[in-house]
């Protein structure tokens, strides 16, 4: 009963995770603030000002457009931009009403709206046509901030956008592979200390087979994600190379097994190799990436998610996803193990 209930629990978790991955909407965000190369008259300003186009993602600006406030920020200096027109829910035109002398060329863009709350685009504006004087300052405008009550959503991340859902598919693949390779590692150690019992060898083989499956799925989901966010199916990166080589090392394990005919010798030699492979896995995926710079999320210099960006909505799906995939992996491993034991018995009967 207990055995069946954890399997059902695992499937329920995965069902919950898949529903969340595909149904939870993304929160609102800002895409860009660009120069339209035109100028226009704005209410409250005597001269013509350059017109900039503001583009949002998943925003609701067309509802109560009079409450949309666009603010620039540099350090403590704020500047409110006059709104020219709200085109639709995600597009608006603002006037770049800044003095000719500004303290910086690079500004953060803040947009406040009752439905979306306050959105931030860091270094979202680069002014190339202004004069820089770091002492330049003016009085900060009065800004009313809105605290919005958004429905349950995944955070919006620049450049990553919708692919943030891959977090629940890609990362758990590697965790599951670690778990299965760990099972294989322990089984191989026990195989070496009990020469005549071939059950541990069957365990090691089954766990490596299923672990390799998860590793391959991890490579595929990672490659798809990289295509959409980095623009290439594969990039030269320590984390990626480590992952690929780990999969190759374990493929070598299966090749080694296929070369040896004698079952006892095979059990012994492949166990020895499996211990080597696990140590290499630790080195490649946990030690080497820490020595070198990487583009991969969770490492330095990255726009993606690291542990600070994993907010509560992602956690609510990510942790169940890890647990669910691990349970599924363990279950698959048990089925494969039973199959191989039955195969061996059949061979003995013949």
């Amino acid at each position: 009963m207990i055995q069946r209930s954890w399997k059902i629990g695992g499937l329920a978790l995965l069902g919950y995770v898949l529903c969340m991955i595909f149904l939870v909407p993304l929160g609102p965000g800002l895409l860009e603030l660009t120069d339209t190369k035109t100028a226009d008259l704005v209410v409250g300003v005597e001269h013509q000002v350059p017109v900039y186009a503001l583009t949002g993602f998943g925003t609701h600006w067309s509802e109560t457009p009079e409450n949309l406030t666009v603010v620039l920020r540099h350090g403590n200096q704020l500047a409110a931009l006059p709104l020219i027109e709200v085109i639709d829910a995600t597009h608006a035109l603002v006037g770049m009403d800044l003095p000719y002398t500004v303290p910086s060329k690079s500004w953060d863009v803040l947009v406040t709206h009752p439905i979306d709350g306050t959105l931030l685009l860091e270094n979202g504006l680069f002014l190339s046509d202004r004069f820089i004087n770091e002492q330049a300052a003016w009085d900060n405008p009065e800004i009313s901030e809105f605290l919005a009550e958004l429905p349950f959503h995944f955070p919006y991340q620049p450049r990553i956008v919708e692919t943030i859902r891959n977090l629940m598919l890609h990362v758990p693949m590697w965790f599951t592979m670690f778990l299965l390779m760990g099972i294989g590692f322990v089984a191989s150690i026990r195989q070496l200390s009990s020469a005549n019992d071939l059950n541990f060898d069957a365990k090691a083989e089954a766990s490596v087979q299923i672990g390799l499956l998860f590793g391959t799925l991890g490579l595929i989901t990672g490659s798809l994600w990289a295509r959409y966010t980095w623009g290439a199916w594969w990039v030269d990166d320590p984390q990626l190379n480590g992952a690929l080589v780990t999969v190759l090392v374990y493929a070598g394990y299966l090749i080694l097994r296929a070369t040896i005919q004698d079952v006892r010798l095979r059990a012994r030699l492949s166990s020895v190799y499996n211990l080597f492979a696990f140590v290499i896995l630790i080195i490649l995926l946990m030690v080497l990436p820490r020595f070198s710079e990487s583009l991969h999320p969770g490492k330095g210099g990255n726009p993606g998610f690291n542990s600070y960006d994993l907010d509560s909505s992602l956690r609510a799906v990510f942790y169940p996803a890890v647990l669910g995939w691990m349970m599924l992996g363990t279950w698959m491993y048990q089925i494969r193990l039973k199959e191989s034991i039955v195969e061996r018995k059949l061979r003995q009967l013949r």
């Binding site: 090749i255 080694l256 010798l265 211990l275 290499i280 080497l288």
Partner: protein, 223 residues
Amino acid sequence: MSRVADIRFLVQHAIRVEMRNKHGIAGLAVFAIAAVYTCYQATGMHAERESWNALAWVVLLFTAFNAVSKPWADDAPEMRSFLLHTVRPQNWLLARIVYYSLMLLALGALIFAAFLLFLGLDPFVGNGIFYFFIGIEATALALASLLAMIQALATRAGGGFSLIAVLGLPLIIPVILVATRYGMDIMKGIAFGDTAHHLLFLATLTGGFTALGYILFPYLWRE
């Protein structure tokens, strides 16, 4: 016999057998020099530092795989059953690591000399040549410590050279990654102190592979 005396005897024995039939080691040297000469021709007599670095490590790697795939008298089944009763397997593995280390240290030096002769000294600044040489020898030790074990494993499995390549190449990649990065740093003129952690990592890998082999080799060897 004490362990050191045991290992020394085994290494001396291996060298004696090697010297009795010199064409094996001579073939390796010819392979290495021919490979360097091919690189020299292919790069058009003048290699940029990127290609210099890449080619040096590739030639070292392939020479190492060639060196360990050379059949050894001890691998014959009747010889192994004799050794099983006379030597502790750990000593035998350590002797083999020492022997491969000596061989790869010499071959590494030969390859480096050939590279300097054919492809020139241009990429190096300051003491770069000396530090690069240290890197080559450290990598040779790491290769020897891993490949000794892989060679024994592949021979025991009856797979021959192709199995050594299949099992050894993925396992060796951490070594090569660190070595190429170290070589590139040296050629860029980065101070030795700022890139020495790569050497430390290579030494750790060498120690780790030797320790793993020391623990696991008896299981591999016994009937």
